[in-house]
């Protein structure tokens, strides 16, 4: 589990920019973080669900610097990409309200070796960056994941304050104190230090995992990244 977190931290380096803007969503509970090796360039993180019929459902987040293009212009470009392949069927579903704001929702049906696959993409533009959350599953199974995918899309958040997203000021303050404690200990030690891990890092990990499950796995990963950043 620890190795995964350190690997994920490397992959997620660009989910928080130098100006400390974080983007994340809440993956379905129990889904595993995907190996960074199978992700394409713009994909920052992905989560994979249980494999029932040879194809695992998944949700991932990609970002792309797009300059001054509008959301409509970006969607037009994306539509052109998909429609170049006659095996794809692309359609725009409309708007979906997310924590970050109103986003565009699109659907793609595609034929692959694994059968008919359905994908949904939530696309949001802010400050010249496109954020794309992609959900995929076998078409015959997609209905069973609709609620999970909808929650993932709706939970999409962009913020510069991870702690501010926690419901309840008491919980925010409690975590901030724990966070500051670990940061202080880290200033005097290194991540590999066994005493640091035993006395500070592991208890902090357990606290976050046990008391902040409502924030989602990706938010937790970003918090850990922020904690360990030198």
């Amino acid at each position: 589990m620890r190795l995964f977190f350190f690997a994920a931290l490397l992959t997620l380096a660009t989910l928080s920019s130098e100006a400390k803007t974080y983007s994340y969503f809440s993956p379905p509970k129990g889904w595993d973080a995907a190996s960074p090796e199978i992700a394409a360039t713009h994909v920052k993180v992905g989560f994979i669900g249980p494999n029932k019929k040879g194809f695992s459902p998944s949700v991932n987040l990609a970002t792309e610097d797009v300059g001054d293009i509008t959301l409509e212009g970006y969607i037009k470009a994306v539509k052109a990409i998909y429609e170049r392949n006659p095996q794809n069927r692309w359609r725009q579903l409309g708007k979906i309200r997310t924590q970050a704001g109103d986003s565009s929702l699109t659907e793609i049906d595609s034929k692959t070796e694994w059968g008919d696959i359905r994908l949904m993409q939530m696309i949001f533009l802010k400050d010249k960056v496109a954020y794309i959350v992609t959900a995929a599953a076998l078409k015959e199974e997609f209905g069973g994941y609709t609620r999970d995918f909808q929650r993932a899309f709706q939970s999409f958040t962009i913020t510069d304050d991870l702690f501010g997203q926690i419901p309840g000021t008491e919980r925010q303050e409690a975590l901030k104190q724990a966070f500051e404690g670990v940061r202080k200990a880290l200033a005097a030690a290194s991540i590999e230090d066994k005493d640091f891990q035993k006395e500070h890092w592991t208890p902090f990990e357990k606290k976050v995992a046990a008391e902040y499950t409502d924030m989602g796995q990706l938010w937790q990963i970003l918090l850990f990244q922020e904690t360990l950043e030198k």
């Binding site: 992905g46 998944s58 987040l61 797009v66 470009a77």
Partner: protein, 87 residues
Amino acid sequence: MLLMKRILTVCLCAFMAVASVHVPAMENDITEFPEDSDQLYRVGDGAYDGSWTALSKSLLGWGVGLGVGIGILCALLHQSTSSSHSH
């Protein structure tokens, strides 16, 4: 023997051509965009990458299928070689 080699070469080429059709549907040359707009020409990679990553499992399946296909072809070739010697 030379004839068998030629048959094998043709079959492998045909198999590769068929297999290439079954590359995941998202496999496009993304540089070939309509050139009516510079912006259209340059953006969309993020969405494409998201789909490609979601479908990457199918790439693994394609790789296995190719290996199995070559294996079957070699087995058929061996059978026909054995039967030609027995006549």
